[in-house]
C-alpha cells in the first residue's frame, strides 16, 4: 500500500526507539564481559563444589579477569542508569512492560509451548515477554547491588548486612548471575525462533516489503 500523493511506501512503524536499542546492545556487551570475567573470578575460590569451564572465561588469570570485571561494571552501571531513567521517566516501562499479571504470563507461556503465541506486532510485548524483561531488570539490579556489597563490604557495610553477611552476598551474586543467565538464554532462544525480532532491535523497525499485487 503506497501513499496516494507521493507514491512512496509509508514508513514502517518504530518498534524499538534509539535509546532502547543503544542501551540493549551496550548492556549485552557489559553483561557478557562481566559474566565471563566473573566466572574466572569465581574459579579462584569457588563458592560451590564445582568450577566453571576455564576455556570460556575472560581475562587469562585472576588479575586480568578483575581488570575486565571492574571496567565493565562502569559500562553496566552507567548504561543501566540511562535505561532505567528512560524507562521510568519517558513512560517506556509503563507503555511496554505494564500491566503484567501472573495469569496472563502463564497463559502466554502455555501458548508459546503449543506454538500458538502470536508475534504479529513486535512493538507490543506479550505477557511472557513482559515478565522476562522485568525479571532481567530485577536480576541485573540484584547483581549490581550484591556486587557492590562484595566490592565494598566495609564502606557499604549496611548493604552487606542486608544480604546477610559477606559470604551470603557472594552466594546471592552467583545465584543472581545464574538466574539472569537462564532468562537471557530463553530470550536468545526466542530470538532464534523469531529472527525478525533481532532485526527490529538492530535497526528499530522492520523493512517495508512491497507486497506482490
Amino acid at each position: 500500500m503506497s501513499d496516494a500523493r507521493t507514491g512512496r511506501l509509508p514508513a514502517s512503524p518504530t518498534i524499538h526507539g534509539r535509546i532502547v536499542r543503544l542501551t540493549h546492545w551496550l548492556n549485552a556487551l557489559a553483561f557478557l564481559i562481566l559474566l565471563l570475567s566473573g566466572w574466572k573470578i569465581y574459579n579462584a575460590s569457588p563458592v560451590f563444589a564445582f568450577r566453571l569451564p576455564s576455556e570460556l572465561t575472560l581475562g587469562g588469570w585472576l588479575g586480568g579477569a578483575l581488570l575486565w570485571h571492574f571496567a565493565a561494571m562502569w559500562l553496566l552501571a552507567l548504561n543501566g542508569l540511562l535505561y532505567l531513567g528512560h524507562g521510568f521517566l519517558c513512560g517506556h516501562f509503563r507503555r511496554k512492560l505494564w500491566p503484567v499479571s501472573p495469569a496472563a504470563v502463564w497463559a502466554d507461556i502455555r501458548a508459546a509451548f503449543s506454538g500458538r503465541l502470536a508475534h504479529d506486532d513486535l512493538s507490543v510485548y506479550n505477557a511472557a515477554q513482559r515478565a522476562a524483561y522485568i525479571a532481567l531488570i530485577l536480576g541485573i539490579t540484584l547483581l549490581a547491588l550484591s556486587g557492590l556489597a562484595i566490592w565494598k563490604p566495609v564502606q557499604l557495610a549496611p548493604l552487606v548486612q542486608l544480604f546477610g553477611g559477606f559470604d551470603t552476598a557472594r552466594v546471592v551474586h552467583f545465584v543472581a548471575m545464574a538466574l539472569t543467565l537462564a532468562v537471557t538464554a530463553v530470550h536468545v532462544l526466542m530470538v532464534v525462533l523469531v529472527p525478525r525480532t533481532l532485526l527490529a532491535m538492530l535497526i528499530g523497525r522492520l523493512p517495508t516489503v512491497r507486497s506482490p499485487q
Binding site: A44, P46, V47, G60, G64
Partner: protein, 252 residues
C-alpha cells in the same frame, strides 16, 4: 569444619599453581580474550592497547575508591567464636617457602619521609602500646576468614617516628621479597595495625612473623607479612601483585 577448611587450603594452593601458569600465559598472550573474540567474531590484535586501557580504568578505580574511603568508618568486629583456626596460609609461594626470620637479628628499617630513621629491634617494637582487633580478612580470590590480631596502630608509630603524614604513600618491604604500599589515609586509619601477635600468640611464621601490617579496610594482599622496612614517599611505590595487574587501592 576443619576438614573443609583444609580442603579450601589445598584448593587455594592448587589455585595458585594454576594462577601462576595462567599468569605466564597472560603475559605472553595479553588478555587471552579467546572466548570473547570468538563470540564477537573478531580477532583482537591490539591486546597491549586493551591492557593499557584496562589499567587506566583500574587507576580511575583507585581514585574513586580513595573518595569512597571514609577514614572514620570502623570495620566490623567479630566475637572470638567467629575466629577461623587454623588461619589460612596464603602467599605467592608454598609453605616450604616461608622465610625463617630470626627474632634476635631482626630490625625494622625506616626510610623516606621520616624524621627519625633509626632501626627498631623486636624488643623495642614489642614495648609499644598494643590493641587487639577481631576482624574479617578478605582475600582477592573471594574467600574470607575472621582472625584476631594484636599490635600497635600504624598511625601511632608513624607519628612517633616523625613520618610526614601529609605524604601520599606508605610502602612496605618484606623478608620474602614481597612488597606493597597503601595510601596515607588508610595508613592513618585507627584499625590499621603493626600486628605482632595473632590469636593470643606471637605471630606464627606462616602468618607473617615477626611483623604483619593488618589493614582490615583492604584486601588480603595489601596486608604484608614479614615486614622488614617501612618507607614514606610521594612517588607511587606499586606492589608485587599490583605491578602485575591487581588493582592498587584494593579497598573494602
Amino acid at each position: 569444619m576443619i576438614k573443609l577448611k583444609m580442603g579450601e587450603r589445598f584448593a587455594a594452593l592448587r589455585n595458585r599453581e594454576i594462577a601462576s601458569l595462567e599468569r605466564r600465559l597472560f603475559l605472553r598472550q595479553g588478555l587471552s580474550m579467546g572466548a570473547l573474540s570468538l563470540l564477537a567474531g573478531c580477532n583482537v590484535t591490539d591486546e597491549v592497547g586493551v591492557e593499557n586501557a584496562l589499567r587506566k580504568i583500574s587507576s580511575w578505580n583507585d581514585t574513586v575508591q580513595a573518595k569512597l574511603f571514609d577514614p572514620k568508618r570502623l570495620v566490623e568486629e567479630y566475637p572470638a567464636s567467629a575466629i577461623v583456626r587454623p588461619f589460612p596460609f596464603n602467599a605467592f609461594y608454598d609453605e616450604d617457602g616461608i622465610p625463617a626470620v630470626s627474632a634476635a637479628d631482626f630490625s625494622l628499617e625506616l626510610a623516606g619521609l621520616i624524621r627519625e630513621r633509626k632501626p627498631w629491634s623486636l624488643a623495642e617494637l614489642y614495648a609499644l602500646p598494643q590493641v587487639t582487633q577481631t576482624t574479617r580478612h578478605i582475600c582477592v580470590e573471594g574467600w574470607s576468614a575472621v582472625g584476631q590480631w594484636s599490635g600497635t596502630p600504624l598511625r601511632h608509630f608513624l607519628e612517633r617516628v616523625g613520618a610526614d603524614t601529609s605524604a601520599r604513600y606508605v610502602g612496605f618491604k618484606c623478608a620474602d621479597d614481597y612488597y606493597t604500599s597503601i595510601d596515607m589515609a588508610t595508613a592513618l586509619h585507627p584499625q590499621t595495625l603493626m600486628a605482632f601477635r595473632q590469636d593470643g600468640d606471637v605471630l606464627p611464621a606462616p602468618n607473617g612473623f615477626p611483623l604483619k601490617i593488618r589493614v582490615p579496610t583492604k584486601l588480603g594482599f595489601k596486608n604484608p607479612k614479614h615486614v622488614r622496612a617501612i618507607f614514606v614517599t610521594n612517588e607511587y611505590p606499586g606492589g608485587y601483585w599490583e605491578d602485575q595487574g591487581y588493582n592498587w587501592f584494593a579497598g573494602l
